[in-house]
């Protein structure tokens, strides 16, 4: 900074190289905030979405964040500028204004309408679009849906899938606790309920969250498009070990998934005990 100031005042002649270095440094300084923001997002922000429609949640999130941030900045300027400009100082008397004049009321009304139209309405429109196109547009088996029954409990996730026969409540159903294996590039549809209290089925990397209510079957779906392991969390305080209630989604490419399904099905048949009165828990699939 010093060299720059000296250069500006013309007290010293700087070589062109120094000018270039100074300019680069200034540019870097200007970039720093955005780089820092990127670093923060990488470190503490969410992972990139691993499901086909996860990006929609992100874009909605960023839309809201950006609009709110811009409005916040505008409001800040509108607050700070009058406070500084109209403050009491020698030669200027500050005066109290209740904002009750017609001009003020009209201004407030116009700003409110603009804020509603720009912020709320656009978010509402975007949300309705996503709901209609994705969230409520649940694929059925004909569209290749892979069905999973999720039974939450204090404090674990029970998953039941049909195995190769495609029917729930048969001995080859694959039942797992806290681990779920899904095929890649195929919509996974969940019927979520709970044995005891309210839980919430949350897979942050898939941008999906759905409450598990006892006595009700809730639906949710996503289409995993990146193979890997992802966390399942409980997003509803459900008792003492709520924090321990996490599971894993393993997303496998189609071929690996087929092999897994075959082996897991065979082992499920081995583990099936026909005397067990509670082995075949499953409910009628809710479309």
């Amino acid at each position: 900074m010093n060299s720059l100031l000296i250069g500006c005042t013309g007290r010293s002649r700087l070589p062109a190289r120094a000018w270039l270095a100074t300019l680069t440094a200034l540019l870097a300084l200007a970039c720093a905030p955005s780089l820092a923001a990127q670093e923060l997002a990488d470190r503490w922000g969410p992972n990139a979405p691993a499901s086909a429609n996860g990006g929609r949640v992100d874009s909605l999130f960023w839309l809201i964040t950006t609009m709110i941030s811009v409005s916040f900045l505008i409001v800040l300027v509108m607050l700070i500028v009058p406070v500084l400009r109209d403050r009491a100082r020698p030669g200027h008397k500050a005066h109290y204004d209740e904002g009750s004049s017609l001009h003020d009321k009209r201004f407030t009304a116009i700003v409110s309408v603009i804020v509603f139209l720009v912020l709320d309405a656009s978010v509402l429109v975007m949300t309705m679009k996503d709901l209609r196109e994705v969230v409520w547009n649940i694929p059925n088996v004909e569209k290749g849906a892979y069905q999973v029954e999720v039974l939450a409990q204090q404090w674990a996730w029970n998953f039941r899938v049909t195995g190769e026969d495609g029917k729930f409540g048969t001995p080859d159903d694959i039942v797992t606790i806290n681990t779920l294996t899904l095929p890649m590039d195929r919509p996974a549809v969940f019927n979520v309920t709970s044995k005891d209290v309210i839980h919430s089925f949350f897979v942050p990397d898939m941008r999906v969250k759905r409450d598990a209510n006892p006595g009700a079957i809730n639906q949710v779906w996503f289409k995993p498009v990146v193979a890997g392991s992802y966390d399942i969390l409980c997003a509803e305080l459900c008792g003492y070990a709520h924090y321990q209630m996490h599971g894993t989604v393993n997303v496998l490419p189609a071929e690996a998934f087929k092999a897994w399904e075959k082996e897991a099905g065979a082992l499920a048949l081995t583990a099936y005990d026909s005397n067990d009165p509670e082995a075949l828990w499953a409910w009628e699939w809710k479309e």
Binding site: Q154, N158, I177, E263, L267, D273, D276, E278
Partner: protein, 378 residues
């Protein structure tokens, strides 16, 4: 309303809003007494629906102390040495001034009288932390236990798995505490972060759940400690241990319940039997043992011996834990106490082998090829 009236009016409103919660707080101060049961824990009418349960009543205070089998003469001996002011020699045995430990001439054991306040604390924590699965009465059938396999333990049956205590004995307090701290892999029995003090009280309460003349209330039952391990003979030469383990595993016919992990030809070679001996088609699969001694609502729970390359192991995260599990056996599950039944070296070797199988193949792409090769072989 004029501005001068506004402030007092708002203050009044605020006070009125606070009065309700404030009086409720004042009323509920102080510890729980027996009379408070009905107000604090009214009978719970369970939601009717998909997973409906019968109405429950939840008493929280225990008034009677429990008379349980003490951890043994050695335990009392050590305690007496540490607290000379509390114990004095009465004949051959120790007399406890607090009355907690008493010698019984007929049964020839020390009884432990667990005070009611310890049981009450244990009970309250049990209801909060454990009852959702293990049941409010410790019968292993809480609201969240339905359909859960393996089923949560019933403390009315005094049969425990994975305590690392030889299965003909009851586990001591330390073994139970260690188990709760460690948790059981692949089940909702997590590693519980309850403070040591509270956990000890919970353990006392769990022991007191034994029915009359059973478990800790039966004088003939001995309390055992976690099996002794000694030094690992294969330390530094794990590869040899794994190779020796493969032989020991198959020679001792572990594949009777668990899968075999070698081809039939290799199996015959290891066992030193006729080369033409054949095996059942399911020899490379885990086997289900039906009709175990452990019951849930009249159903004799079937137990699956794990496939080490597939299932999550309950409590065998390293060779030491695997050794302890094999050596102690698993009570009521058909896994006998192996310590003494085969050389210690072989036990350690099998522990290394089992860990090797899990580390190499579980959730790994290599598993499919490994098992396919086994099953394709004649």
């Amino acid at each position: 309303m004029t501005p001068s009236l506004l402030r007092p009016a708002m203050a009044l409103l605020l006070l009125a809003g606070l009065a309700g919660p404030l009086s409720a707080c004042l009323q509920h101060q102080g510890s729980l007494s027996e009379d408070d049961h009905e107000t604090v824990n009214p009978p719970v009418e369970q939601a009717v629906g998909l997973f409906a349960r019968a109405p429950l009543h939840v008493p929280l205070v225990i008034t009677e102390p429990a008379k349980l089998v003490s951890p043994g003469e050695d335990f009392v001996e050590t305690l007496a040495a540490a607290h000379p002011e509390r114990f004095r020699k009465d004949g051959e045995h120790w007399a406890d001034a607090t009355g907690e430990f008493t010698w019984d001439d007929d049964e020839e054991i020390y009884w432990q009288l667990v005070p009611a306040d310890v049981l009450t604390r244990g009970r309250q924590d049990f209801v909060q932390f454990c009852s959702s699965c293990h049941g409010l009465e410790g019968d292993g059938y809480g609201r969240s236990a339905q359909h859960l396999r393996p089923p949560p333990r019933s403390f009315k049956q005094s049969s425990f798995k994975f305590t690392k205590v030889p299965s003909d004995k009851l586990p001591n307090d330390d073994a139970l505490v260690t188990l709760v701290r460690h948790g059981l892999g692949g089940t909702p029995m997590y590693p519980w972060a309850v403070s040591e003090e509270r956990l000890r009280d919970i353990v006392q309460y769990i022991k007191s759940l034994s029915p009359e003349e059973e478990g800790w209330r039966d004088a003939v039952n001995e309390i055992g400690a976690v099996v002794e391990t000694g030094a690992d003979p294969w330390e530094g030469k794990e590869a040899q241990g794994i190779a020796a383990g493969e032989i020991a595993y198959h020679r001792n016919q572990c594949y009777g319940c668990h899968p075999a992990y070698v081809t039939a030809a290799k199996l015959n070679e290891i066992r030193g039997v006729d080369k033409t001996t054949t095996y059942a088609a399911d020899v490379t699969y885990p086997k289900l043992k039906k009709d175990s001694s452990y019951e849930v609502l009249g159903y004799k729970v079937a137990i699956l011996a794990p496939d080490f390359t597939w299932q999550t192991l309950r409590y065998s995260g390293n060779p030491l834990e695997a050794y302890q599990t094999i050596a102690a056996g698993i009570g009521g599950a058909g896994m006998p106490t192996w310590k003494g039944a085969m050389p210690d070296e072989d036990l350690w070797a099998i522990a290394h082998y089992v860990r090797h199988l899990t580390d190499t193949y579980k959730d790994k792409p290599a598993r499919a090829a490994f098992m396919a090769a086994l099953r394709a072989a004649p």
